[in-house]
Amino acid sequence: MSRAIGVEAQAEAPWAVVEPDRGNSPVDFRELWHYRDLLYFLTWRDISVRYKQTVLGFLWAILQPFLSMVVFTVFLGKLAGVPSDGVPYPVFSYLGLLPWMYFAGAVTRSGASVVGSASLLTRVYFPRVLVPLSATLSALVDFAISALVLGGLMAWYGLAPAATTVLLLPLAALTAVVATGIGMWLAALNVRYRDVQYAVPFLMQLWMFATPVVYPASLVPAAWRPLYALNPMTGVIEGYRAAVLGLPWDWTGLALSAVSGLALAALGAWKFRRMERTFADVI
């Protein structure tokens, strides 16, 4: 650190104070900023290690949503005749699976991340939040790669992306924030209760069917929509489709989902903060 620590250290105020954990100390943004390089290297480690010693490498990032899309197209689109808002079902479901797989992957990975870094946490101090955060950031790479396939798929069906496609960026940012917050909550719980790591993958499967990933939100009766929109991913996934395909927006639904998602994320971050200083003792 090139900051003049020596000068600062001469002053009366301590550089750091270690006190019992009351779980309510303010977030030290100066410290987070100092550790930004660590966030970069943790994220980059996750990315570069993920597909090491695999034959297909980054193709896995494409195969998973693509093959899921094929299966859902055959069984739901063709055999069950699930409607898709007038869009070819493969494009429709891929546009749901793309953000969903990012969300589910980011939540699962960040939920497991703290326990997975136990050997770090018990030996070295650094802001703990970097661990789940790097997990959700590294999942963005898979998301970007599988987004490329979307372009190909739309070209195949002769669909041009609408001008509102740029709105994918804020939607993706919202997804990432919500996933990080929920992931932090699960990560903190997982330190104490290892049940979490078994429950999460299953929970994400159930959650997917409570979200308009492979069917349109319009299938849900209008009276239930507001409740349905409290699922943070409902408005977001419908938003992805509206943005790329130029469909009408359900602003109320999106606002409800965004508010409930951000509230969940804030709660998760708060829970994490309350528990983080005991991680090294409990893990």
Partner: protein, 421 residues
């Protein structure tokens, strides 16, 4: 000197017994608990605190460290030394008390934390360096120096899983050694490595101490503490029991009461349970003679199959200098690995040690870790025996006796050498 760089005020740390690492609660219990809360509150029965499940690793420890001091932290295993370092380095929070730090803290021996086997040496240097708190720019600047110190230039772009263990440890240590925080914590107990590596650690410690930075040095090596430290503190059972000149504090620690019998409470892990000094027939022998063999009898437990578990002893002088170490592999005896309790008998041959005070250290370890280290496990006095050494009525110098062969003959008269017939 001004304000101390580290001010430790009344630090206490409580752990739940069962080991901080083993306590995995289950969600079901938590839910049952949660459901029971209203009823308990209604009935006015709070869950009574269970004091027997608690363990105070540190209680009310206070001391100051001035800028540039090299403070030795000594004490038996379990006295709270490592807990103290963990609190100062902010890995874990204290239960009570306050520490003011007026500088960045780095741990010299957290070597290889975060090393990933699939990443190359170069990548791991950056990852590990940032984990230890360095900025990328800082690592860029020191990179060549780090690699040169480790001596792995040729392999820096090879994944570290292909490294020999020596290369791995050298690279890891090189990164930690190039941290330039104002406060450096060194925990020698964590220095698991070969002798050469340990020597390197101590050498680097000396450099760091001379560079004017503030060092906290946890060690069992009283020689090193006396050599390197400007001051020392002694922890006993989580309390600060002595503080001051390293020689005096080390002396207090080592002189401790004579202990010819060691007994430990069971922790559930691999551990030494008992140690005794016996005669070759197994009878207790609190006062061995220098002329007669005596036996260190060690009772230890392997709770589960533990292949590769080693046991060894060391005999140390009163200031902690190892005289020799011994383990069964020296005499081609493979120590058992099946679960169970074992008694190892180590015969110290007669006419090895001179009369005097000694410590015996006992260590259980495997390739990865030190499982139990008691240093010293026993402290005892060897008494003079009926030996020519003492019959001469001389005060012998030294700590060991060696039966050297002597030959003395009349020297050839001067001038005779080289005479030709």
């Amino acid at each position: 000197m001004g304000t101390p760089i580290i001010r430790v005020q009344g630090i206490s740390k409580r752990y739940s017994i069962g080991g901080p690492q083993q306590r995995v609660e289950h969600l079901r219990e938590a839910i049952v608990d949660l459901l029971a809360v209203p009823f308990r509150t209604l009935a006015g029965i709070g869950r009574p605190p269970a004091p027997s499940e608690e363990f105070w690793a540190l209680s009310d420890v206070s001391f100051d460290v001035e800028r540039g001091e090299v403070l030795g932290v000594i004490g038996a295993n379990g006295a709270g030394k490592s807990t103290l370092l963990k609190i100062i380095s902010r890995v874990t929070a204290p239960t009570a008390g306050r520490i003011e730090l007026r500088g960045r803290v780095g741990s010299l021996l957290e070597v290889g934390t975060g090393f990933h086997p699939d990443l190359t040496g170069r990548e791991n240097v950056y990852l590990n360096g940032t984990i230890l708190g360095m900025r990328k720019r800082e690592i860029d600047r020191k990179f060549d120096e780090i690699v040169a110190f480790a001596g792995v230039e040729a392999f820096i772009d090879t994944p570290v899983k292909r490294y020999s263990s020596g290369m791995y440890v050298r690279l890891a240590f090189a990164v930690a050694a190039h941290l330039d925080t104002e406060i450096v914590l060194v925990d020698e107990v964590l220095a698991v490595g070969d002798a050469e590596f340990q020597k390197r650690c101590l050498g680097k410690m000396g450099d760091v101490a001379r560079s004017g930075r503030t060092v906290l040095f946890v060690s069992h090596n009283m020689g090193a503490v006396q050599r390197l430290c400007t001051r020392a503190i002694l922890l006993e059972g989580g309390r600060l029991s002595a503080e001051g000149d390293p020689r005096a504090v080390a002396g207090t620690y080592l002189r401790g009461p004579q202990r010819v019998r060691y007994q430990a409470a069971r922790t559930g892990g691999v551990q030494l349970l008992e140690a005794d000094i016996c005669d070759p027939e197994g009878r207790p022998l609190p006062n061995p003679l220098c002329t007669e063999p005596f036996v260190l009898q060690l009772r230890y437990v392997l709770p589960e199959p533990s292949p590769g578990t080693r046991i060894g002893i060391g005999i140390l002088t009163p200031d902690g200098t190892p005289l020799f170490t011994s383990n069964p592999l020296d005499v081609l005896v493979e120590p058992p690995s099946a679960p169970g309790e074992y008694v190892a008998r180590v015969v110290i041959p007669g006419e090895t040690l001179l009369a005097g005070d000694f410590h015996a250290a006992v260590c259980l370890w495997n390739q990865a870790d030190i499982l139990d280290l008691q240093e010293p496990a026993l402290s005892f006095t060897v008494h003079p025996g009926p030996s020519p050494l003492y019959l001469q009525g001389l005060e012998r110098k030294g700590v060991v006796q060696v039966a050297c062969r002597w030959e003395i003959e009349a020297a050839a008269p001067a001038g005779h050498a080289g005479t030709l017939r």
